[in-house]
Symmetry: C2
Subunit: 510 residues, 2 copies
Amino acid sequence: MSLHGTSLINGGPIAPGGHPFAAASPLHPEPLSPEFYEATEADVHRALTAAEAARTALEEAGSQGRARFLEGIATELESLGVPLLERAHLETGLPLERLASERSRTTGQLRLLAALLREERWRDLRVDPPLPERQPLARPELRRTLLPLGPVAVFGASNFPFAYSVAGGDTASAFAAGCPVVVKAHPAHPGTSELTGGAIVRALRNSDLPPGAFALLQGRSHALGEALVRHPLLCAVGFTGSLRGGRALFDAANSRPAPIPVFAEMGSLNPVFLLPGALHSRAAQIAAGLTQSITQGGGQFCTKPGLLFGIAGPELDAFQSNLEEAMRAALPSTLLHSEIQRSYESGAARAAALPGVQILTESARPPEPALTQGRPLLLGTDSATYLAERSLHEENFGPSTLFVKAPNLEVLLQIAARLEGQLTAAVHGTDAEAEAVGALFSILEQKAGRLIYNGYPTGVEVCAAMHHGGPYPASTDSRFTAVGTAAIQRWLRPVCYQNFAAPSRWWNNL
Amino acid sequence: MSLHGTSLINGGPIAPGGHPFAAASPLHPEPLSPEFYEATEADVHRALTAAEAARTALEEAGSQGRARFLEGIATELESLGVPLLERAHLETGLPLERLASERSRTTGQLRLLAALLREERWRDLRVDPPLPERQPLARPELRRTLLPLGPVAVFGASNFPFAYSVAGGDTASAFAAGCPVVVKAHPAHPGTSELTGGAIVRALRNSDLPPGAFALLQGRSHALGEALVRHPLLCAVGFTGSLRGGRALFDAANSRPAPIPVFAEMGSLNPVFLLPGALHSRAAQIAAGLTQSITQGGGQFCTKPGLLFGIAGPELDAFQSNLEEAMRAALPSTLLHSEIQRSYESGAARAAALPGVQILTESARPPEPALTQGRPLLLGTDSATYLAERSLHEENFGPSTLFVKAPNLEVLLQIAARLEGQLTAAVHGTDAEAEAVGALFSILEQKAGRLIYNGYPTGVEVCAAMHHGGPYPASTDSRFTAVGTAAIQRWLRPVCYQNFAAPSRWWNNL
């Protein structure tokens, strides 16, 4: 499977140019071939000019045409077969099996959005009929539909090389809305990105859509991302990554002469509240479920539970033993790249060194340094230390979690009330407990985009009711989701047509 | 009708304090009594603390409870009778008849939102049923509803003392969503604001809702508005006014540690494109309709047509005569306050002094300086001058418009393509012309939130299909409307409930 190492603009690879950079593997120290070339500001301009030129054709393809295009991307991704998974495995260290299921999820969401398009209900069409006899003034007919915003920039994530990357949820929903897309590939998997980008290029061609509707820009520099966000033809931004990165793009977009929306999905601690009754009846099961949720994918999921809160007592003590046992048995796993691994280790060391914080246990198996591994880690503290120490409220990306003991329910509610914005918040309890602590749910509703009862935050369903986004800093706009069919709403704006009943061709898709 | 001259916090007037300022009338030089007092930063904090404390009660009142509350505000506004209109007339100079119809519109939109609440469809409820047998993983039940964002700040507009002010569309839709509201009253009509605020206070009391759910802050300083927007308990902002004012609040909101959304409806030129066939058959009618739309309310509507574009030829010449005649016959009217009047005159003089710009005509009757009047004015230029001169692309608030002659359709399309974001864009044409210039409509769709065919932009319907908002700088977020039932969507965020089937009380309104 040959790679060019360059950006894709207007239907194909561009000539090599810009600063070269190496693709790295967390599984061995040698750089991967080929070398990649950083896109330039001129490339940004070419990509956006082509995107702007393609917008009318993409919109005029209509829901049905775009549905076929999305399905075409899914088919092309599948036909890349095992070599695509192997390249992704080399670049990310994620196991082939996980990558296969992530690709399935990615093709699944492309097809789900195609199905949404075929129904046409996504346009939220509203019609107010004319009232010619109304006094004192007649009312003209008013129709409202949704139109695409225009060219969208998507910043791929490191942790999901398929589902939140080049052909992931942001790209798929933007295409569904009718927006051309310029992807800034994550530099941790440039080869996977080029292969995926090639699938999109072929799908465009097969659908007779203009090649400018998609571009892939390779690069590592923040300047490239900023140039993309500041380009006057850009209309919106989708981003999945760190709080710092997301906020920088948000600030750049808002300081433009004409600001544009940024949908950045950033950090989240995904707190889990453990009530005594649930621990009494299901301690081992919850400990196993949480350990799986904490360590899955190397703890590099945006919904990894990074905070566990319980009320001191015999149930919590027994649960702690179960949890320690499960975390000791969990295996180290390869992290996405060496920078994440170093950051994970230093974050864990800093937290463990805080007065009042203890290492409760870690994986019995030491990590393999040559494989860039992270070691599952269970830290513990009391609620007073947690409440006083701001750094414990920040995400540590990797397979660790902080177990916090509160003296009573009142303090548990205080902790909930002082949480920052989160993607998710979970509660384990018996139904009687859940009835009794309505206040906890009321607080968590203000803090998170998704509440989970007797379940685990990882495993984000791609469906109509999903909301993946939350109050800041979980995301920059709590009103929009990055996952599920409602993700399309980010890229649309309403337009009202007044008195257009006679010439009807300007809403031929309604 | 007695006035306290102070802000309203927690159910009543606060003690006088802060810098005093006078309420002025454009109809006479003497200040109105009583004196008003600028709210302080401490008042902002008290208002928001009370708002935060009231949010649960407002949400738990549910759709039905909030519907009764909105209807209660409408009833209270009506029972203020003629004295409310008289105070508004003194403060704004707007005729009593116009103010009566604006109040009707305001009570109408309160009742329309109440009707929306009663239907419950506004929650966009989405349910994905559980799939316990699904392989490899069972799916839990997922339900999504919409919850209020939290306390909202509303900045009242000068030009609509009822419909876009204390109990106007922003406040009504935020209350409908379940958000407490802190209004920053426009300093040009503080007495009208206090009276309207009193109606809301009484309606809250009659609905057994906490008084903290509403506050009215009086004041003239930008610092007060900034303090409100920067307060950590504030969750969103609604604003109607100038580009400079809206952008300042937008920038302040986005530079907070936790940014919040700002829905600012700002300037708009509302271009009108005049095609020859329409002018051939309806020149006098269109001239009369446009003159009415330009001069209505002193030209102080956000949808006033400030740009007219036509193609040079005998039809346009004949239409120009009709338009000049109609504009000459139009009467000067009192503007909202002396600052607007000065700004209108200087803006008109600056434009008229530009090389290539002519005064085509003005009202035959000179304005009455003691009544703060603005004189209807028709300026003319050619398309080359218009395209080259940026200042002609900026709104001049008042009863003037710029008539631009293009040599041909091609240049008309160029002009359309270079428009800034607009609230509206209108086209007058025959059906055959409209069919022939699909490109014009395609361009205007990208530029405006509402397209009007053979009609006039003023007279914004309050209905489900209305979209009042447009690409920047018409508004800060083109995806949301300030008018109509969809306005409620600005103040809501989705929350997904996973596996909550058993304890169902946390979405008792679903």
